[in-house]
């Protein structure tokens, strides 16, 4: 059925003989969205704040302490972090009462635990975008997709050096044409909804809070 449907649709589309005139796309307006590093950082923080995201700028040596205090503040006991995350050892040695674990088995084996008993996840980011205050996250076998979705608190580590002005700048500089990873995400703030009489509520189906550590010196 679907092969004949394919035929029918494609040949019907190709029946159109006249091609309406149209202007070729002029992308210049996208390049007007550029900021210097310091302005970009300021914009990133402000944009995240406007969607309830919290950004803390720290120097690399202070990172573990800052992350720990955020975890304590949230009362987190069970925290997901990839084994290869550089921060992990520093956290494990210093933390009391917090159990750090990797997302090291297929989700089917521990779905309920992941959804109900995990308090936070710490992940890396591919990049940050100043224009919209977004994180670019590319899930991987060590940092799977649900890590940034199931636990109520998401902590993201973003090196200042990975801050771009806009998604368009990132796409063009890194040439995002052709094959892409399994999943790529832009994340801006914790999940939210305004479906009940336009009242904005954070923590819809994903995380209820998002903290970004913007790190100098890595």
């Amino acid at each position: 059925m679907t092969s004949s449907a394919r035929q029918t649709i494609l040949s019907r589309l190709r029946e159109r003989t006249s091609q309406p005139a149209s202007q070729p796309p002029d992308f210049r307006v996208m390049n007007t969205r550029r900021w210097s590093l310091e302005d970009g950082i300021e914009r990133f923080i402000a944009q995240q704040a406007s969607v309830h995201g919290d950004v803390q700028r720290v120097h690399e040596p202070d990172l573990a302490t800052a992350v720990l205090s955020r975890l304590h503040q949230a009362g987190a006991h069970r925290v997901l972090i990839a084994p290869s995350q550089g921060l992990r050892d520093a956290l494990v040695t210093r933390a009391q009462n917090i159990d750090f674990q990797g997302y090291d088995q297929k989700v089917e084996a521990w779905q309920s635990e992941l959804f109900h008993q995990t308090d936070a996840a710490i992940t890396s980011c591919h990049a940050g975008l100043a224009d919209t205050g977004s994180l670019v996250v590319i899930p991987s076998p060590e940092e799977p997709r649900l890590m940034t979705l199931a636990p109520p608190l998401h902590i993201a580590i973003l090196p200042v050096s990975r801050l771009f002005s806009s998604w368009y700048q990132l796409i063009t500089e890194e040439d995002w044409t052709g094959p892409m990873p399994t999943n790529t995400l832009l994340i801006s703030g914790p999940s939210k909804t305004a479906d009940i009489e336009q009242t904005l509520v954070y923590g819809a189906h994903g995380p209820k809070a998002l903290t970004v550590f913007l790190v100098d010196g890595i």
Partner: protein, 481 residues
């Protein structure tokens, strides 16, 4: 009330009575008025630091260029998706698309299906189709969840439950799910979150829409705030994405500007919480995500619309909803009065082309042609001129002329045509014109006081004592010495 107003496939939509009852419902009008005023303001603010006109030019150019290469892009998308391990299906119409989805569900021996927001599945009435075949179907977007509980249909393409206020939702959730009846959006959202989390874990299949399908990488882009779309496309072992064939664009570079336009036009956000780009099913070393991903490409009338150079602009739409937010008619009657999947200006242009003009006879005329929709449309669809075009199609005299609009000529009336023929005749002959107007002004006492609907709210027009012609003649005579 509104839930029963869905169109049936063979009779005209009851537009006028629905409009009347919507107008009489002050609660409903209040809900829409508040919401739309807020949305218009937010949109303006969101574009404040942009060169909006340049960005709209770009959006329009990208959509037009994509449509121009549509068949090639669809083939490229298919190739790329298949190379990535996504299975691609084609469907000529809604029924065929429902069948494709059902077959996948059967193969997977699925019982429960969870859905992210998708207008094309509303268009093909997928939920009813699956439910009839014994599947449990659950909407996971909060607005859709509410609408489904109320057994209604969405009243807005972006905010499905915008017609309801908090009190109504609290009562509904209390009755349907047993939670406390608290008029507190935070409490209600949290309850829905808990109820749905369980469902996400149990569902066998997740069904979502697609905002942009990227041909050169085989990527499906989904834009959302709640995270329900991500859960729908990540937790169940099988993900079925359903999209209209017009949603394809060449590359991600094209998505960036369209995304900037979409979220700002829709809700005034500079970006949504999540932009989810899915390019393949779970790989062997990955620990979550669906093991199977399907893409269903649905035509359902789009390739017919595509044949008409002017009307094909309808297909540029990125479903932002800005045209309805800015429409004085939509704001007053709300989405349900239209009785069709897509309401508001885009609905008035698209639905007659999908369902036929006989079934939507008043759609093209239910507009003051104020032009707001055309001014805000992020991809510059000339909605007012398309409405005019459909008005012409509706009264087209030559029913045998090939037209892509089903039911063209269905509104033509002999009396109306006769009146216009006489009008034309009189205006072409000056002697006859003067004679008729003089006669008419002499018989002005006989002109009717009641003119049906027109005189219900206005006084009847009356001819002047003297015609303009004779008044001018008299004046020039007086002025001559």
């Amino acid at each position: 009330m509104p839930q029963t107003l869905q169109q049936s496939h063979n009779s005209a939509i009851n537009f006028q009575p629905q409009v009347k009852s919507a107008l009489a419902n002050t609660q409903l009008r209040g809900n829409f008025d508040r919401a739309m005023t807020g949305l218009m303001h937010k949109r303006t603010m969101a574009f404040a630091d942009w060169d909006l006109e340049a960005l709209r030019d770009l959006g329009q150019a990208i959509r037009q260029q994509s449509l121009r290469q549509l068949p090639d892009l669809l083939e490229q998308l298919e190739r790329q998706c298949q190379a990535n391990g996504i299975q691609v299906h084609w469907a000529r119409d809604g029924d065929e698309a429902c069948q494709v989805v059902t077959e996948i569900c059967q193969q997977r021996q699925a019982k429960t299906v969870i859905k992210g927001k998708s207008m094309v599945t509303e268009e093909m009435e997928l939920n009813a189709h699956l439910e009839q075949r014994g599947y449990t179907v659950l909407e996971s977007d909060l607005g859709e969840y509410i609408v489904q509980m109320a057994k209604e249909t969405p009243s807005h393409i972006i905010m499905p439950a915008i017609h309801k206020n908090t009190a109504e939702i609290a009562e509904l959730m209390h009755t349907m799910t047993g939670v406390e009846q608290r008029e507190d959006a935070h409490y209600l959202t949290d309850q829905a979150r808990q109820q749905l989390r369980e469902k996400f874990m149990q569902a066998d299949v997740g069904i979502s829409g697609v905002n942009f399908a990227v041909a050169d990488s085989g990527t499906l882009c989904l834009v959302e705030n709640e995270g329900n779309g991500r859960l729908t496309t990540t937790t169940p072992p099988c993900h079925i994405a359903v999209t209209g064939i017009e949603k394809v664009v060449p590359s991600l570079t094209d998505v960036a500007p369209l995304l900037s336009l979409l979220t700002r036009s829709a809700t005034g956000q500079s970006i949504t919480t999540y932009v989810n780009m899915i390019s393949r099913p779970r790989q062997p070393d990955e620990k979550d995500g669906p093991e199977a991903v399907h893409l269903v490409l649905v035509d359902n009338g789009r390739s017919d619309i595509y044949q008409d150079e002017e009307l094909a602009e309808t297909l540029q739409c990125i479903r932002c909803g800005a045209c309805m937010n800015h429409c004085p008619v939509y704001t007053r009657i709300g989405g349900h009065a239209y009785g069709t999947t897509y309401p508001g200006p885009i609905g008035q242009v698209l639905m007659p082309q999908l369902l036929g003009l006989e079934q939507t006879p008043d759609f093209a005329s239910a507009s003051s042609l104020c032009g707001s929709c055309g001014e805000v449309c992020p991809v510059r669809i000339p909605l007012p001129s398309l409405l005019l075009r459909l008005r012409r199609e509706a009264v087209d005299g030559d029913r045998t002329r090939a037209s892509t609009v089903p039911g063209h000529g269905s509104k033509r009336s002999n009396l109306e045509s006769l009146i216009w023929a006489v009008w034309r005749l009189v205006h072409r002959r000056p002697g006859l014109y003067r004679l008729t107007t003089r006669l008419a002004s002499q018989l002005r006492a006989l002109s009717p006081k009641r003119l049906g609907g027109w005189t219900r709210y206005r006084s009847a027009p009356k001819l002047a004592k003297t015609t303009l012609h004779s008044a001018m003649n008299n004046r020039s005579k007086r002025q001559q010495p």
